[in-house]
Assembly symmetry: C2
Homo-oligomer: 453 residues x 2
């Protein structure tokens, strides 16, 4: 893994049965390594781990990640082994794990489990995860949307380094601008609470808390031996600290995308611009259900839009229905300029307009409109550069079948184009609205706190 | 459209300026057509529509669809035109529309707007839609998941044939087993209510009601001139009639998929079988949040599972964590047989196990496990045939990037494989749980009604 990921530091395999592993000289014990060691990855069976950690400490290793499972999550015997590791850690070596996937650090070239095909580029997003699986899944899914990571850390049972230590570290890490996490249980609730209050004044913290239902709590206990906690307590924590609550992997990533691309601002008034009646109805419903508002335009703005849009099939009042998913580029430009210049809205959501025939996934449309980006896409990019309001985009997966996979490829390329221009792209209006609402909640909280101080 | 869709009946173009259109003799007026006409599609500008409808009536045409917009949805003038059409309809011709996309009827070979590339196969699902765009979008997306339609009818302003007439028709239509719809407003609330009570005793009705928020209601008014209605009234209607409420396009289609593949049953106790700690935690949370329960297994069943699964990294209590997304086929088989034979659960959800290396979207996994279906997939199909409990599957889109599109193609093929075997496949656990909960609500209501009668 280290080799294929391109780790450039020295590697010392330790194995009592081999003298050479993949071209590296192997050592029977940690104490045999002739040079100072910074970091160890421990994968021996659970009963042997405490002794190896002792050896690492004796050899002056500063930190280790223990990928092995079979500790407190399996019962009393495991708990005893874990207690021994924690006791060793307290004497001068920092431990990540056990029962984890460890660290993915693109800058340092470090990854063991199984991020071999993860990006080598760093980015502003950190992810801490009590789950190993999610420490794989989150960066993998996110990377497809252009989200890059400073560090992703799977910390498992957290016998030494825990969620608070990691938050503290990421708070100070200049590479990290957005902190995300999957948490099952917290050891020190009071420290966690105060820390979140401190961190969220500077960086957004987006947390997915698992195990808040009865069945979920039971699964949490089997997974990392944590206590799930009460829904009401956690909800209060989110409210009072300004940390953003995400209830699913999708919400975690969507919200991250909003923070990544939108400059800080406040204001829940949204204009939705779509190309169809039901789409704009659904958009308004979805926005208002997440706490955004879709205010009716002034009669002045309505009159202006009436001079731009066709008299039949369009709607001017907000949401704006431009009467077709394929509006003429100059019409789209004029609509965006008019709405963009108006004081009554804070954000513009472009809802499922077509920027390439093929993104609709329809053969006949692709034949008529082509599979490359159309002029409307360029209009949007140009407008975005001059507009004082954020643009948010919804590009739904219309082509759902295996036989329509090429259209989905085009849709993704269209999405990448907008993402590269700093426009966040979401898969459904509901998801866009939720991400935007989460983003705004953070900035509302942050401003209210700064006014109080 | 008719030609490319393969309509086999006679076609009479009517156009005063042409004598021949695409090889068909054209007629200047409807009255010039020498043979009896069953059905007309009217696309002339709005002011000319009432006269054309009159001509159709005079010529003995039984029904017409009016695709033209510019009627009551644009104001008083439009309302007057629409009133004239309705008056003509009352004298003996049935009208669908105006301001609609009309009928998609694969059995009859009929489609005008723009279902040219829709399946010619019929199926058990009907869709009625006040929106033209959704009458395109719903069958298009659904067809990618193997859902086939008896009829999809976009009925727009409903100046004559309305949602009640269509419900009544589909109630009696032997081809239709599941009724779905997108509704903006209802003309006759009392008839609609009673009709739904009647229809849901025999066929499920899944409705997406648009315009229940302030902004949504405004958009509805611009779109089809309907009144949005109050949230509480509609919620009561759903509760009392047993119609299923869907709040988005995704929920409408997911719920349809559940009805399509699951035999009627009751019971909200679910077992989730997944391959990872956080995945099963999230699964339990999502299930219980939608009103399903994830009961703890009896100690007997737990002991049995403990003999099948590895002692470390797995969980036996429900949710079941089989310790890896790639469980050995015999392990998966034994787990499914044990859980399947137990009385404590009604449904088994298979959550994001891997049935092909490539469905994970990871190059290194695809290299190790291949891109074709693995043996675990066959285990599932075999088990499904003998199991007395329904199986539901979650196959998430892991490969989100444009560069990973080939993996998404494999994932879809894996999904198709299970769909063909009658196992509903969902994109996220949250969506699976909601669809299942909707499905169960219908059967709970239906049984409670039949007991009362």
């Amino acid at each position: 893994m280290l080799l294929s990921f391109g780790y450039s530091g020295r590697v010392y395999p330790v194995n009592p049965q081999e003298s050479e592993i993949q071209g590296f000289k192997a050592y029977a014990r940690v104490s045999d390594i002739p040079e100072p060691v910074d970091f160890a990855t421990i994968t021996v069976p659970a009963p042997a781990v405490p002794e190896v950690v002792e050896e690492c400490l004796a050899r002056g290793v500063k930190a280790a990640q223990i990928l092995t499972a079979g500790f407190r999550e399996v019962g009393e015997e495991g708990q005893k082994l874990e207690d021994r590791i924690a006791a060793t850690a307290a004497r001068g070596i920092r431990i990540i794990g056990p029962n984890c996937f460890g660290v993915y650090s693109p800058g340092g070239g470090l990854t063991i489990l199984p991020g071999q095909d993860f990006p080598r580029e760093s980015g502003p997003v950190a992810f801490i995860s009590q789950s190993g699986g999610l420490a794989v899944r989150v960066p993998r899914r996110a990377s497809g949307w252009g989200i890059r990571f400073s560090k992703a850390i799977s910390y498992g049972n957290a016998c030494d380094v825990n969620e608070c230590d990691l938050l503290e570290y990421l708070y100070q890490d200049p590479e990290t601008k957005i902190i995300t996490g999957y948490i099952e249980g917290v050891r020190d609730g009071s420290r966690f609470f105060k820390l979140l209050q401190k961190v969220t004044r500077v960086k957004p913290v987006i947390l997915w808390k698992g195990g808040l239902t009865q069945g979920g709590a039971r699964a949490v206990h089997s997974h990392t031996g944590s206590l799930g906690g009460a829904e009401a307590v956690w909800e209060a924590l989110f409210q009072q600290t300004g940390a953003i609550r995400a209830n699913s992997l999708e919400e975690l990533l969507d919200t991250t995308l909003a923070f990544l691309h939108l400059a800080p601002y406040r204001g829940r008034r949204v204009s939705v611009i779509g190309g169809g009646g039901a789409i704009t109805v659904a958009a308004a419903d979805a926005c208002e259900r997440t706490g955004l508002s879709v205010p009716q335009f002034s009669s002045q703005l309505q009159k202006k839009l009436a001079t731009i849009l066709p008299p039949v099939g369009a709607s001017f009042r907000n949401p704006v229905d431009v009467a077709s998913p394929f509006p003429p580029p100059l019409v789209l430009k004029a609509v965006l300029e008019s709405v963009g210049a108006d004081d009554s809205v804070d954000t513009i959501i472009i809802d499922e307009l077509e920027f390439s025939g093929a993104s609709a996934g329809m053969k006949n449309i692709a034949e008529r409109f082509g599979t490359t980006l159309n002029e409307a896409a360029q209009v949007l990019i140009d407008i975005k550069r001059t507009l004082s309001k954020p643009l948010v985009m919804v590009l739904a997966v219309e082509a759902t079948g295996a036989d329509a996979i090429e259209f989905e490829g085009v849709r993704r390329s269209v999405g990448d184009y907008f993402l590269k221009e700093g426009i966040p792209v979401f898969l459904t209006l509901e998801r866009a609205a939720k991400a935007l609402s989460n983003f705004l909640s953070y900035h509302e909280h942050r401003e209210s706190v700064s006014q109080r101080v």
